[in-house]
Structures are given as C-alpha cells and as structure tokens.
C-alpha cells in the first residue's frame, strides 16, 4: 500500500511540472516597447526595444551609459503577425510580451488604419490589455532608439509621462472598447522626440514627449489636437491636475495663474423638442500659483472677479476643443453617443445609424464653477510696495 502511494505521488509530480511551457529567464527576450510602422510599399515593420539584463546588474562599471540598457531589433512583413514571426528569427531568445506596456504606431500606419494591428495585439495572449498606445509624429522606430538620461529606457519614460496624467493615456482596451462602441472614435496621445538643446548631450539622449492627441475615427487617424486643445480634452476627461490656466483681468496689468487641484466634469444629456443638448458641468478647484498683477487676491471682490474670469476662460478653452472635435473632425471622442444612448435609448436607436450627421448638431452647454482654494504662501502680490497693491 505504501509503495503504491509513493508511485502515485511520483506520477503526480510528473504531471505538475508543466514541462512544455517551462521557460527560463535566460531564454527570454523581454520587450519593453514596440513600434509599428507602415513602409512605403505597404508592408508592416515591427521594431522592438529589447532589455539587456546585464546592463542593469553591472551598473556603472565602465560601460558607455549613452548606449543604454536596451537595444532595438526590427523586421518587416506583409502584416504584423508576419513581421513578428520574422522578428523572432532575428532574436536568439523567445520574445516575451508580458512587460511591454508601450506600443507606438507610426503616423503612416495610423492614417491607414490601426484595426488590423489592434486585432493582433488583443488576440495574442502575450500583450496586456492595459498597455498604452501612442502615435508618433514621424517614424515610430526612431523613438525606440532614444536613450533617456533619467529613465532606464524610452518606453519607461513614456509610460511614466502617461501615468502622471491618467486621462491622457489610451490603453489597448480603451481603444478596442471605444472603436467598438457607439462613437467609434478615440483619442491616442501623439508623441514626438523632445529636442534637447544641451550641447554636452548627444542628440539621441532625450525622451519622447506628448505633443497632443491624435484623433481616430473608425480606425483611421484624421487629425491632431494641439497641446492647448488637448488640455481642453483633459478637462472633459476629469483629469486636470497638471494644467495651469492663466487669465487676464480687465483692470489688471498682467496675468493670474491657477493650478487646479481637483476637478470634476459631469455630462448630462438632454433631448428637448428634437434638439439634442449636452449639458456639461465642470467644477474646478485650484491654487493661485502666480500673480503678475497688482491686485490683491485676498480681497473678496477681487477673488470673486478672479473666479468669474476663470470660469469664462475655462469655458472658452473647452468650447474650442469641442468645437474642433464636432465641426472639423466630427469625431465623438468624449463619448457623447454613449451618454445619449444611456439616458435616451429610444431616441438613440433612431439616430444610431446616422450619428455622424447628428453629432456635429449636438448643442453643448458648458457650465463652469471655479473656486480658488489657496493662495500659496503669500496673499498680496510679492515684491510690491504695500501702497501699490490695488484692492
């Protein structure tokens, strides 16, 4: 009896090891970022940034730091799957996608449509759903070869930039969901190389930075929102922590700047006598960070004026962004369609097929409530004789 138990236990161990899928660390090529480009002849090129584990462990022992801890390999194929299989032939280790949180699309590819590539990335069990997508201003491959001075590799720099501002990034799943949903439009960060002016640094020792938002309709990129308009979009997406807004008061001789500390935007769709209205309520709280004027924000009336001014300023910027999205791009990246669908399912089913025509006609009513919460360390303007302060 004891012997048979022993035999059985041994049998169990044999089945528990997972022999076929055993992978050793030294057999893996860890991908940290990937770039997908469309070449002129219509072929797809995949470039991956591969991590060199040695470079991290050995630290600063004499290696040239500008070489970085990664290297880039590329391959070309008829489509993405094909290219990746060609890529695998150029890499002695097995490609490992689990750590790859950054996918950059070249602009040519983005303009031609990204659906085929998204399908591969979602279908393949390797890449994660929560990895970030970007569109590069130029060839995507270039950005992988950058060596950031601060981070270990450019993919990480990009990921950190995006994580700081949550509303900015678009994950693989966001894009899949948005292109599948009512609006069939999505925004993806538009990145380019930061030109470093430091003479002591080499040209490639820099990072990619977010320059705006690429707007996608169906699967094709149709345009870019510039930095200012992107801010407007971020306010809509509940993420406004990093963007300082400046205003000019009528009787002031300079600008007052505020950094929002918290904010919320609320969408309430409304259909009134066949008019489709989107009521947008934005509440924002912030700190005054700079006061160029002679006005004293400690004064109640002045503070009220400042808040009023912020409200109009914010309203204007958001309205600009919405105007551009509605009229120029006709791309519903704020998900107006879904919000109408949720509240007015019957009306929605009537316009569902011609949402493209309806979306630019939606009236957007923006209400902003701004509150100044703190003034920083000082109240009245700094470095100004007391009697010159206007109250």
């Amino acid at each position: 009896m004891k012997k048979s138990i022993l035999v059985m236990l041994c049998c169990c161990y044999l089945t528990l090891t997972g022999c076929w899928d055993r992978v050793e660390m030294q057999d893996l090529a860890i991908i940290t970022a990937a770039a997908i480009d469309r070449l002129e002849d219509g072929k797809t090129r995949i470039s991956v940034q591969l991590f060199i584990p040695r470079a991290i462990t050995s630290g600063e022992t004499g290696e040239d730091p500008s070489l970085g801890s990664t290297f880039v390999r590329e391959a070309t194929g008829e489509n993405l799957a094909n290219a990746i299989s060609m890529l695998q032939m150029n890499v002695p280790r097995k490609l490992f996608w689990g750590q790859c949180k950054v996918f950059i699309f070249g602009i040519e590819l983005a303009k031609n449509g990204i659906r085929k590539q998204i399908d591969y990335l979602i279908r393949h069990p390797g890449p994660r759903d929560n990895s970030f997508l970007y569109v590069s201003e130029d060839e995507a491959k270039e950005l992988l070869t950058l060596v950031p001075p601060l981070e270990r590799y450019s993919g990480e720099a990009l990921k950190k930039l995006t994580q700081e501002e949550k509303g900015m990034g678009s994950t693989l799943r966001d894009v899949d969901k948005a292109l599948m949903g009512e609006s069939e439009s999505v925004s993806i960060p538009y990145i380019q190389m930061l030109v470093s002016k430091e003479p002591t640094r080499k040209l490639h020792e820099t990072i990619p930075v977010i320059e705006g938002m690429a707007i996608f309709k169906k699967e094709q990129m149709i345009g870019v929102l510039n930095k200012k308009e992107t801010r407007g979009l971020l306010w809509l997406k509940d993420d406004m922590k990093r963007s300082t807004i400046s205003i000019k008061l009528k009787d002031g001789d300079g600008e007052i700047s505020m950094t929002p500390t918290s904010g919320k935007s609320k969408f309430s769709p409304e259909i009134k006598e066949h008019r489709w209205i989107m009521n947008l309520n934005i509440t924002i709280e912030g700190d005054i960070v700079q006061n160029e004027t002679h006005l004293d924000p400690m004064d109640k009336d002045v503070l009220l004026k400042i808040e009023k001014e912020y409200e109009t300023a914010l309203k204007e910027r958001v309205a600009q962004t919405i105007e551009k999205l509605q009229q120029k791009f006709n791309a519903d990246v704020m998900n107006f369609g879904r919000r109408f669908h949720q509240i007015y399912p019957n009306e929605w089913s009537k316009v569902k097929d011609r949402w493209d025509e309806k979306f630019p006609e939606v009236e957007v009513k923006i209400m902003v409530t701004a509150k100044v919460r703190r003034h920083g360390y000082i109240g009245p303007p700094a470095a100004l004789p007391r009697d010159e302060v206007k109250e």
Binding site: C11, T15, G18, D21, G98, R128, D176, H341
Partner: protein
Amino acid sequence: MLEKGKISTLQMEFMIIPAIIATGVLSIPSISGKYARHDMWMTPIVGSIIGFITVYIVWKLHQLFPKLTPFQYSEKILGKVVGRIFSLFLIFFFLHDTGIVIRQYSDFITSNVMRETPSVVFSISITFVSALAVRGGIEVIARSAVICTTIFLCVSLVLLLLIKDVEVSYMLPILEDGLLPVMKGALVHTAWFSEFFLLAFIYPFINTRGKGLKSGMKASLYVMLLLLYFHLFVLTILEVSAVNQLYPVHSIIRSISVFGFFENFEIIITASWVLGNFIKVSVFLYVANLGIAQLFGLSNYQITVFPLSLLLVLLSYWDIPNIVGLVDFLTKIQPFYFILVQTVFPLFLLIIAFARRKRSESR
C-alpha cells in the same frame, strides 16, 4: 449500501458551489453578454430560477425516497425495465457532461496559461486526481471541497482590486430592448443551474436530515450571487467588448495593477479555478461511477473509477472539434439538453411518484 460515508450540509454546499460555478465563470459572461449586452448582470438572477426549481424538485423526490439515489428510485417509480434504461441514460448523460467539463477546463488552460503543452496533459491530470478523490468516497471529496472551495472563493476577492476601474454607467440603459434579450442570456445560465440535480445524489448521504432543502436553496443563492459578482465586474470594466473575449473574467483579472506594483494576478486565480474544476470533475465522476455500481449491483464502486476516467478523457475530445464547437454547444444545445434531463425529467419522476402514491393510498 455502497457508500458508507456521511457528510454535513455545509460540506454539501462547499461541494456543490464549485461543481456549478467552476466552468461557468469561464465562459458564461461572454455568452450571456452576447444576448443581453448592457443588461447582462440580470441574467444570473433570471437564470437562477431554474436552480431553485431544480433544488425543490430534487428535495421532494428525496423526501419520498430518503435513502435512495435517483438510480435506485427511478426503478421504483418507472418500473424495473424503464427505470434501468433511464438510469443508464443518466449515466451516459453525466459522462458526456463530465467530458465537456474536462474539455472546457483543458481548453482554458492551454489557451491562456500553458500554450505549448498539449491539452491532453491537463485532461489526464485532472481526471487522475479526481479519480483518486472519488476512490476515497464522498467524505474525501467533501473534505477536499471544503479546502478547495475556501481557496476558490477567497481568491475571487481579488476582483475587488478592480473597483477603481469600475464604470457604473456601462450598466445603462437598463432594459433597452425589453426583457427578451435578458431571457436569452439567462438561458445559458439555466444549463449550469440545472446541474443542481446533482444534489439528488448527495442528499442520501447527509447526516442531518431535514436541513437539505434550506441548504440547497442557500447554495443556489450563493451561486447566483457569485455569478452576479463576476458579471458586474465584467460589464462595468469591459462593457460591450466583453462579448469578444472568450474568457472575460480572466481578461479583467489580467489587467489588475495596484500601484503598478502588484500585477499578474491571473496566475493565482487560474490556480484557484483548477481547484474548483477538480471538485467539479470529482463530483460528476462520483455520480456517474455510483450510478454504474448501483445499476449493475457491484459490490464496491472503486473498481470502475479508473476505467471510467479513461473513458472520460476520450469523451472530452469526442464530438467537440474546437472552441467554436464548444461555444456553439454551450449556447445552442446545452441549455435545452441540460434542462430537459436535469429539471424536466426529475419533475416527471416526481409527478409519477405522487400519482402512484395517490393511487396506492386510494386503494
């Protein structure tokens, strides 16, 4: 009597919950989402009605024949010949069902976790482990179920880490196209809920008589709540794209990331699902095995366990060509087939049994 073991009602609940939900959590949300879309969270609630009905029918039958399993009382109700044919049919049904369960399990593991290992490794290993448990009798299954189900349920709590990604508005609009889509989505659930028929084979071995109904109903409620819990997370995170995913719950767990530090929870949950499937296969195999022993009057049921297990591994590859065939079966055939066998047939048994009793009383 073949089975001398006795279990408590709590152990029974621990056995029956993974026996229903272990494979359900894998594929139900994607299928029910296909029909009910935004209302998919309602489908487990509607589907659970079949669960409660089945538990009630089974309990009534148990009260009529307190110490017998359906293999035995079907003979008393339907007569010797018909009853035996019915029992044989039930045995084949459970073997087929177990085959599908093993297939679902091995397909899931090979397509998500170990892609290069042939799926037969998983079918053989889980059947082998379950066979060992079945040889030990119902008490062994019950005790391992207590451990495995506890782990299974505790690990399910990791979904709560996703709460910050939840977007409740995805649940709107409620009942956009009326109740019909919800009903269609609930149909998938009913196949799983009808598996509460398994209780009929466990009831005779409960040590506290009279508590079975309450505990069966409780188990049905727990299963419904668990499915609701998984559905809510799948819907509020994936929205309609849940329909595209073959294993939506697994997909959302893959994306858990706490402070960018705690990640890759899917391995833990997969491990816990393996435990759940182990209990599921054990319970099914036990029932089929008990049936054969009782039908053919064997002196112990241990001898047929290993031959049956071998048959099961083969059955899991029989008739199901690939995942498309599997999903098609789960969507279009299984609900009707399972409800017919596990809810409607017992109902007929019950009616006939009552009719016979009435007639014998009136004489």
